[in-house]
């Protein structure tokens, strides 16, 4: 469904990604692991069209998208849950959801989908008139996920959804991710929390200083000596 082939990305003179290749299959939950400054966020921005690769290509459902604008990427069916949530603090919860549906023009469909995310996250219905910035971190995470769902994505790209959340909400977030995946949405989960991510993912990639160093099933990765040493707190 999503395929990165030898993607290299640079910010000015600084090359951040070196020949990154990875795939996410239809309905798959794949995690991309790595430490700080390993290039996880850049990989995500490259997929979303926020930065363009200097070499290599990004294919989505067989079509190259690495020259597309973010709007085209969203329309193609990829929705982002950005790092540290990035909800719009001065927009209401409801308006934040509408921003998720920005590329859509089907009014009734949008209303129906908003109703659906209110069902899934009742707290958002309660707080729909409140400014996004007044929500707690966990609630904001729910809003960020709900906002992404409003784009009716086939693939969700999530950047560190567990970061900065209380353990209770981390748990809840991973439940939601698993739940969405079960409903058929493919997910690329970019995470530092390798334990939790590998527990729910089918496959995983490990990124180190901009290069993919490991790629395997979640099961094998959990048992890989390098993983155990470097990332997993066992």
């Amino acid at each position: 469904m999503l395929e990165l082939r030898g993607v290299s990305t640079r910010y000015g003179p600084v090359q951040v990604l070196w020949e990154v290749s990875l795939t996410v299959g239809e309905g798959e939950l794949v995690c991309l692991l790595g430490g700080n400054a390993s290039g996880k966020s850049t990989t995500m921005k490259t997929i979303l069209g926020l930065v363009h690769p200097v070499r290599g290509e990004v294919l989505f459902r067989g079509r190259p998208i690495h020259r597309d604008t973010p709007a085209q990427v969203v329309r193609a069916g990829i929705a982002p849950v950005l790092e540290s949530r990035r909800i719009f603090p001065q927009l209401t919860v409801y308006e934040n959801l509408l921003m998720g549906a920005y590329t859509r023009t089907d009014g009734p469909g949008i209303r129906q989908d908003i109703e659906a995310v209110y069902e899934r996250f009742p707290v958002l219905r309660e707080r729909r008139g409140q400014l996004g910035g007044t929500l707690s971190g966990g609630e904001q995470q729910m809003l960020a996920i709900a906002r992404a769902l409003l784009a009716r994505p086939r693939l969700l790209v999530m950047d560190e959804p567990s970061m900065g959340l209380s353990p209770l909400y981390v748990e809840k977030t991973f439940e939601v991710i698993q739940d969405l995946n079960r409903q058929g949405i493919a997910i690329l989960l970019v995470e530092q929390n390798a334990n939790m991510a590998l527990a729910i993912a089918q496959r995983g990639y490990v990124l180190q200083t901009g290069r993919i160093v490991l790629a395997d099933t979640a099961q094998n990765l959990v048992n890989h000596p390098m993983m155990r040493k470097a990332y997993l707190e066992l």
């Binding site: 973010p70 969203v74 308006e95 920005y102």
Partner: protein, 288 residues
């Protein structure tokens, strides 16, 4: 004479406010200041004045034409001065707008001459309201400014593009990731800001019966002051700031002397900023 002075101040201030809102919109969405805003206002004023004095069109047609011209000019300025320099930091676009402001002013001198151009009078009558003689034109201007404030509020609060503008202002990368064409939002924001400046220009031309190439200088400065006064990113703040500056100016004329009007207006602004550095209705800048 106090009530008439307050009405004078309110009229004047509502026009400052329209200019100030332009600065707020541009600063709010793009985090940039334009020094060509006064000249956009001047251009709008000239188009309005020509529409009325040369082509003998009714004033509201002149107003729409002035606003449309300012819209187009704003759109072009954004394309030429801001778009190519989006990642160049604050200074280069700022300097370019200073240059543009000089070019536009001199161009106006070359094309139209340095002298005042007369604008035909409208609504020369006065009415008595609660025992006070009030100029009908002042009421018309107040009404128009009020209408524009309302329309602007509706656009920004209630439309998709308004929502996209606010989202872009708050987090342009996130907005972009949602599929917002940020460049288009910047264009529209700049054009919208310019359009309001053009409206103020046409109205001031009608109010004072004159337009002239250097009119953008002080007006731009006052509008910018009102924008800072109100807190840089707050539209209600800019309206309040503009009106306070207008009223303070006229009270200064009444109780001190005409020559002190700008001094006192800017003095009040400085005092407010010392007491409330974030402006009247501004929030403290987040340190991200």
């Amino acid at each position: 004479m106090l009530v008439p002075q307050l009405i004078n101040g309110l009229t004047q201030g509502s026009l400052y406010a329209l200019i100030a809102i332009g600065f707020v919109i541009i600063f709010g969405t793009m985090n940039l200041v334009t020094f060509a805003h006064g000249e956009v206002y001047m251009a709008g004023a000239f188009v309005g004045a020509f529409a009325m004095s040369l082509w003998h069109l009714p004033w509201f047609v002149a107003l729409v034409m002035g606003m449309a011209a300012a819209w187009v000019l704003g759109f072009l300025i954004e394309k030429v001065a801001f778009r190519p320099l989006r990642t160049a930091g604050h200074m280069p676009p700022l300097l370019i707008t200073i240059g543009l402001s000089i070019i536009l002013k001199d161009l106006a001198v070359v094309l139209f001459g340095a002298e005042n151009r007369p604008v035909p009078s409208i609504y020369e009558q006065t009415v008595r309201l609660a025992g006070v003689q009030v100029s009908v034109l002042q009421l018309v201007i107040l009404g128009l400014a009020g209408t524009l404030f309302l329309v602007l509020r509706l656009v920004i609060q209630g439309t998709k593009i308004g929502r996209a503008m606010r989202a872009t202002a708050q987090d342009h990368e996130a907005a972009s990731a949602m599929g917002v064409n940020v460049n288009r939002v910047f264009s529209i924001a700049f054009a919208l800001a310019s359009c309001l400046g053009g409206a103020a220009g046409v109205m001031i031309g009608i109010y004072y019966n004159a337009v002239y190439p250097t009119m953008g200088g002080t007006a731009g400065l006052k509008g910018f002051a009102a924008c800072i006064f109100g807190g840089l990113t707050s539209i209600p703040g800019a309206i309040l700031g503009g009106i306070i500056i207008g009223v303070v100016e006229n009270l200064t004329v009444q109780f001190l002397a005409s020559g002190y009007r700008d001094v006192v207006a800017f003095l009040v602004m400085v005092i407010v900023l010392v007491l409330r550095p974030q402006g009247l209705l501004g929030r403290k800048l987040k340190t991200v």
